[in-house]
């Protein structure tokens, strides 16, 4: 423990985070966390602090950082209100299985629980969102807590939280340990995630099912983001169409002939049909929640690859579960598969009619979307300064201008719908959203985090006005850090998704969904470049 001699508790936390390769912390300081802020100030060459305008954004940014890099995201907030504000963004990370560590301050250790100012029991508050949740009571405990927090977040792919009372942050390590404590008993080594399936037999069992299938669907999610080539190799070998979850949109480019689109209400007709007809379902790195869009239990033989054992068989009953990294498992599976293509080592189930049928349907679907998109809006009475445009048209126009390595962050609402269908992701791009929590307001913070990480890439936020307005102050963050993000706002003055849910799900007239219009571009034009379409 000599490395921590004469260091404060906050210093030790910062050093331990650096050991875990944490290089960026998004947050908003306050008096409850200022001891740790000093530790960051004195290490700003090793760990960057990004000041946001609302703590919810900091958590979204940490989540986006982890989603776009595959590394551990980090955020901080002060005690009480700051910590409370973090929660929504942290739930985004939790529900999408994203590793994030959240650090909060607490009131003075001898006033905790007294109702003192900003005295909130953050251990209880964060108990549901976190896979690891602790309070640091003294410097001698600090390294262990950081090690456990980082390891738990990475290995369990979730949120870790620890809090530190303000007075504890400033305490200097004295080296006075309890009689059972052994300094340095935890490690800061990263975990090797190259997990292989438990046995060759499991792989062979999976291959046997796939070799016997005639109508095989490959369903991919964010867990396959590193496995594009392997997914395509299996699709080609099995004559299997690929269906994507929204978080898996960037796994395979949208114009790939094996892609038949996203599943679900915002997805494509061929994807829905393929699921209804499939006799075999291979799920790769997805925990797609809308189970009514999956085959009916018993209809298709199920195989699932996931890094979390508890996800296997959660949404669809599977015969074989393969635990581990998608790319490694698919690579091991490929040699065991018989080709369904004629002319090669032929499988008795060789038949590409299912694939051809879905590919043709996909062409027709794409054409239909284009027809809807290009139809004029001249039937309506509602216009905004004669500038009313179909939202699909904007999505398609954005899609046309995406650079080869663009990073597209979208929001939750009708904008999700139009982005899913009309923004074409190409190989090399990144695409993400608050997938399972489906929280509004994520798009802008996600784009800011993306541009922070990848300053040379085109980073786009495609959002609705409802979601944008929730955390629109972060536009100033983009200005502060010289981030040339492109924010496309679909302005309809409505919580549009809710309008359709009220009508289409409950059969009720809309209520409470229309905003009084405000001039967003005008509001922000002092600090931004503005283009109004």
């Amino acid at each position: 423990m000599a490395e921590y001699d004469n260091l404060s508790c906050a210093d030790i936390v910062a050093e331990a985070l650096i050991d875990w390769k944490v290089d960026t912390i998004f947050g908003l300081p306050g008096d409850g966390i200022n001891g740790f802020m000093e530790a960051l100030r004195t290490r700003k060459d090793k760990i960057k602090f990004v000041l946001v305008r609302h703590e919810e954004s900091a958590a979204f940014m940490a989540s986006a950082y982890a989603k776009y890099t595959g590394k551990l995201g980090a955020c901080l907030a002060t005690s009480g209100p700051g910590a409370i504000h973090l929660l929504n963004g942290l739930y985004d990370a939790k529900l999408d299985g994203t590793p994030v560590v959240a650090i909060t301050g607490r009131t003075y250790s001898d006033l905790m629980g007294s109702g003192y100012q900003q005295d909130v029991d953050q251990l209880q508050l964060f108990s549901d969102v976190s896979v690891y949740n602790n309070i640091i009571n003294k410097p001698e405990q600090a390294e262990m807590v950081v090690d456990m927090a980082c390891r738990a977040a990475l290995s369990q792919r979730g949120v870790s939280h620890f809090t530190m009372p303000i007075d504890v942050q400033e305490k200097i390590l004295e080296g006075k340990y309890s009689k059972h404590k052994v300094p340095g008993h935890t490690s800061d080594k990263l975990i090797n995630f190259d997990i292989m399936p438990s046995s060759q037999k499991t792989l062979k069992d999976a291959a046997e099912i796939l070799n016997a299938g005639k109508k095989i669907v490959i369903f991919i999610g964010q867990g396959a983001l590193n496995a594009r080539n392997e997914v395509l190799a299996i699709a080609e070998k099995l004559n299997a169409p690929i269906v994507k979850s929204l978080l898996g949109k960037a796994v395979v480019e949208d114009d790939n002939p094996y892609n038949i689109g996203i599943l679900g209400i915002l997805g494509t007709e061929p994807a829905t049909d393929a699921m209804n007809e499939a006799d075999t379902l291979l799920m790769v790195g997805t925990s797609f929640p809308y189970i009514d869009y999956l085959p009916k239990p018993g209809q298709a033989r199920g195989i699932q690859i996931d890094i979390k054992p508890e996800k296997i068989g959660l949404r669809y009953p599977v015969e074989v579960g393969l635990l581990g990294d998608s790319r490694i498992i698919l690579s091991a599976l490929i040699p065991l598969l018989d080709s369904h293509n004629k002319g090669q080592k032929e499988n008795k189930n060789s038949n590409n009619s299912f694939l051809l049928d879905k590919q043709q349907a996909m062409k027709e679907w794409t054409s239909k979307l284009e027809t809807f998109r290009n139809r004029s809006n001249n039937s309506g009475e509602i216009t905004y300064n004669n500038k009313l445009i179909k939202p699909q048209t904007i999505a398609a126009a954005v899609s046309e201008e995406l650079e080869d390595n663009a990073i597209i962050s979208i929001d939750s609402g009708t904008s999700t719908f139009w982005a899913a269908r009309h923004i074409n992701v190409r190989n090399g791009m990144k695409f993400s959203v608050s997938g399972t929590l489906a929280s509004m307001a994520c798009g802008l913070p996600y784009a800011i985090a993306a541009q922070m990480i990848y300053p040379e890439r085109q980073c786009v936020a495609f959002v609705g006005d409802g979601g944008f307005m929730m955390l629109m102050a972060e536009f100033a963050t983009a200005v502060q850090y010289n981030l040339p993000i492109k924010v496309i706002i679909l302005k309809n003055n409505t919580i549009g998704m809710i309008r359709w849910e009220q009508m289409g799900y409950l059969g009720n007239p809309e209520y409470g969904v229309e905003f009084t219009p405000i001039d967003l571009a005008g509001l922000l034009k002092i600090v931004v470049e503005t283009v109004i379409l």
Binding site: I265, L266, G267, T268, E269, T272, D273, K368, T371, F372, R375, N377, S379, G380, E381, I382, Y384, K387, L388, I389, K390, P391, Q392, V398, E401, L402, T414, F417, Q458, V460, F475, A478, L483, P484, K486, V487, I488, I489, L490, K491, N492, N493, T494, G496, W500, Q502, M503, G504, Y505, G507, N508, P509, E510, A521, L524, V527, E529, V531, I532, L533
Partner: protein, 65 residues
């Protein structure tokens, strides 16, 4: 759009505020009868803009047949 999406020489964020049709229907990939039924119910109960929404839904459906 082209100008806004590629302009970054000044390292400033860009905003495109696009005034879009708030009544463009969000139709599921396969419009289930229950969905259409519920929309009809909302019309019967007084859904605003129902004429406009209904026309777009009808035209979309008609062109898919």
């Amino acid at each position: 759009m082209k100008m806004a999406m590629h302009k970054d020489t000044e390292k400033k964020p860009v905003i495109i505020e696009a005034y879009v049709d708030p009544l463009e229907p969000m139709v599921p990939p396969k419009a289930k009868s229950e969905f259409i039924q519920k929309i009809s119910e909302s019309f019967a109960k007084g859904q605003p803009y129902s004429e406009r929404i209904g026309l777009t839904l009808y035209r979309n459906k008609f062109e898919t047949i």
